[in-house]
Subunit: 512 residues, 2 copies
């Protein structure tokens, strides 16, 4: 058994059985080993940003890592942006980067570069393997490092000669560290604050946006009158059905300011203290009002679910819970951001996984989908665009029995568009809706917010996606994904229903 096979066998023994890959010469041993290690499924991406984004989507839904197999420093570079998003999502991901053979590095061959430095910027754990017979131990340590609460990117760099050397020692699974339980005294103190009668907000983040935590948070809010919010970009927010409708903190400081206006106590449950995504001239970076006191119920490294349930048990007294609202109706007429959102809300199938990179086009989505059947909502955690299509791909691999809906802005779609090919190859049940407004619309807003209220023609050209107008139907068909165009709300509703009725990937180019 060579080193590459040892790595794959150790991954499988540690519960990692999917490997998203864009391999090169230094990873050929891993490719060859796929035929020896039958517990491991290899999924090819045509670009590394697809591979790492898919591993992020997989990890968010499976709760355990996929491996992402990348080729040397440039491959890692291509995958870096979506590893950044995975890092911000606290997703467990095991990155395996092939390097040149140890003896070959001294020649500084053309593809050599400082892999360790690049890996360090996104990984909580980086190890360069030095001895083939240690590869099993190294790999098991990587899986554990990725699974240490709350979840991390762990990167193992494997020189090619270790992959082809004899290495029989398959690694034993290593237990990961679990999230520590929050102290009783902390929970009781927060209970008193929430019961003080002063205006309180409970801000959920990390593990606090999952079913059990949400049900506890709902009881807390009902019993204490606290406002319930969650972080702006949750990694995975469970919602719909009988789950509470939790508003997300606004992206723009003005929205967040309105939500937090008059709040006296902000209780953080798995969320970090809210900050503006970007700084603007003369505006504060923290979104917490000056008169508001912050209290940490649980950090994202602690057991936020247990803390919320404990807190709910302290404060709840059979207070009635608010009922779910009625489901929105299917819209008709012109297609715009509002009717698009209604079309999604009216057609979202039970158990759907929604991947949301809708950006400015998504303004009306939260309200329109709150009363849809139960679903998961995955967002752009790290702000590095080009996440949606790959995350949807990985989520579909993790949950083959659930429909995936990817809401994708036109500009963002172009960063990792080849994810569509992987969806077609793997026959994944992903419906992608491209939300086409012909521009980097968010940047038009941001340009004004940074002080340029009347941009000149050359500035406008840098934010416009047309001409030439991107034809996403052609792009999808070119990669083997059946596609259609929706120009009205009625068409979008009909095409969503068609896509849901048929297995495999679909793309709808929605012109807003």
């Amino acid at each position: 058994m060579n080193g590459a096979e040892t790595v794959l066998r150790t991954l499988v023994a540690s519960g990692v059985d999917v490997c998203f890959a864009n391999p090169g010469t230094s990873e050929m041993q891993f490719v060859a080993a796929l035929d020896e290690v039958h517990g491991m499924r290899g999924v090819l991406g045509l670009f590394e940003g697809v591979v790492t984004g898919a591993a992020d989507g997989y990890g968010r839904m499976a709760g355990r890592p996929a491996a992402a197999l990348l080729h040397l420093g440039p491959g890692l570079g291509n995958g870096l942006a979506n590893l950044h998003n995975a890092r911000r999502a606290s997703t467990p991901v095991v990155v395996v980067v092939g390097d040149h053979a140890v003896d070959h590095l001294k020649f500084d061959p053309p593809l050599a570069s400082d892999i360790d430095a690049v890996a360090g910027t996104v990984s909580a754990w980086v190890r360069r393997a030095h001895v083939a017979t240690d590869l099993g131990r190294d790999t098991a340590a990587a899986v554990a490092a990725s699974m240490n609460a709350p979840g991390h990117v762990a990167t193992l760099i494997v020189p090619a000669d270790l992959g082809w050397s004899e290495a029989r020692n398959v690694g034993q699974p290593v237990p990961a560290t679990t999230a520590p339980v929050v102290a009783e005294v902390t929970v009781s103190a927060i209970a008193k604050i929430l019961q003080s009668g002063e205006p309180c907000t409970l801000l959920l983040g990390g593990g606090g946006t999952r079913r059990r935590a949400l049900l506890a948070a709902q009881r807390i809010a009902a019993a204490t009158g606290a406002q319930l919010l969650c972080e702006t970009f949750p990694a995975r927010l469970e919602r719909g059905g009988s789950l509470p409708a939790v508003e997300r903190l606004g992206y723009f400081a003005e929205q967040a300011g309105a939500q937090l206006s008059g709040v006296r106590h902000l209780v953080l449950a798995g969320a970090r203290s809210p900050v503006a995504f970007f700084a603007y001239p003369g505006k504060p970076g923290s979104l917490v009002p000056p008169e508001c006191e912050q209290h940490v119920l649980a950090t994202d490294h602690e057991d936020v679910t247990e803390a919320l349930e404990h807190l709910a048990d302290l404060v709840w007294t059979d207070t009635p819970l608010p009922p779910s609202g009625p489901r929105v109706s299917a819209p008709t007429g012109p297609l715009n951001a509002q009717s698009m959102a209604a079309a999604i809300g009216a057609t979202l199938p039970d158990g759907a996984i929604v991947v949301d990179e809708a950006n400015t086009s998504g303004l009306f989505l939260p309200a329109a989908t709150a009363s849809a059947p139960e679903h998961d909502w995955l967002t752009l955690t790290g702000g590095a665009i080009g996440q949606g299509l790959p995350v949807a791909t990985g989520a579909a691999v993790a949950c083959p029995d659930r429909p995936v809906l990817c809401l994708e802005s036109d500009g963002s779609a172009m960063y990792t568009i080849s994810a569509l090919w992987t969806q077609a190859r793997e026959g994944l049940d992903v419906t992608t809706v491209i939300l086409d407004n012909g521009s980097y619309a968010i940047l038009n807003i941001e340009l004004a917010r940074t002080g340029t209220t009347t941009p000149g023609p050359r500035a406008q050209e840098m934010l416009s996606l047309a001409p030439p107008h991107l034809d996403f139907v052609s792009l999808a068909v070119g990669m083997g994904v059946p596609a259609s165009r929706a120009l009205t709300a009625d068409e979008l509703v009909a095409e969503l229903r068609l896509a849901q009725a048929e297995p495999g990937p679909h793309l709808i180019h929605a012109v807003l």
Copy 2:
């Protein structure tokens, strides 16, 4: 005048008048300033790998840098692979990366990451700007650092608040260091070796693959009988017409071994000592035969052109130069790697810039094009695939009066396919020929070379690009580039001629 405008004005004053860009919020001041600084042309890329690859192509052809404007760490990550290629090509590139405002970094906002660490892996010079009033000086220093011989990637990190702060001090151009002249004693010693009668090879690289150097090298070879070779992946090889036909050192060690077999003296002229691209079990990493002695005429940091001309003057005695061969005829019949190469050789227009990411499909190209009219040949210097379409884009911006031909493998094309959109938007005269063999063909070879001679079905699947088969005509049309498909050699010849006759971009999907 704010800091962003100061940066742009300093760039223009330093001779940098093209900015390839994929900006985000932290770069909005730069976008706004484009309307104030009319000497600067902004060219939008829909993905940062397009932006940095275009800057590489531009720098190779213009001999001076373009700016590449990138958004924070993830944007730099997306652009890293083509900066790696630019670094290996010694291309002058000025990278400007926007960062969060200084006061905002303490909040660790979602998009924050270690930009400096990533930039350091590809840049000979990295500076983080600290004071708005120093931005002019910083920018001028960046341009000089990029132009220091032989050419480098220089990265300036600009926090957003510096961009929007008052900063009147436009920087004065700073002179770059030129390549030192090689000592007389070195040149004379090499002359003696070449005249020794022992088998000698002159290996050209760096600046040694340009017209003046090549003409000198041709005289040296004619006078001394030395074999003339150039490095495997030259940044810019001038050839065709009356220029000497210089064979490139083979990519595979076996090819290089045959070329260097029996050579007693290897004289390096701007080239590094040749090494294998990758290591293989039990094979040497250096391509220099054990019995061969190496001599450095000029490193790539020295004035190789002057050294070659000096050397030629020492050894040349009116020896007749070899004549150019006849131009190949237009092929007919089935389309394969050989007839494709002939079609290129028969139709290549005068003054063309050929961007070669043909990989395995390009085997017959050098011979078939050696006697075409004079042209430039740009190759994959750093081995990070996804370079061709962006480099072609940048070369076309640098040389609007010259036709650009991009020979692009199917697998590699998918990394940076959105370069086609930029070509359409800018109306660039680029003809892209996609060489479709439906696989990562090079990896099938590499798999065998690393020891797997009979790959299993799962390994084969990881190296195959079908199903689904990529339809590059659909992809190109989706991005506004007229496209056609060639199934025979006759069709390819006809479509190449049509594309050349019409301005603007075209794509030909050549099914091999």
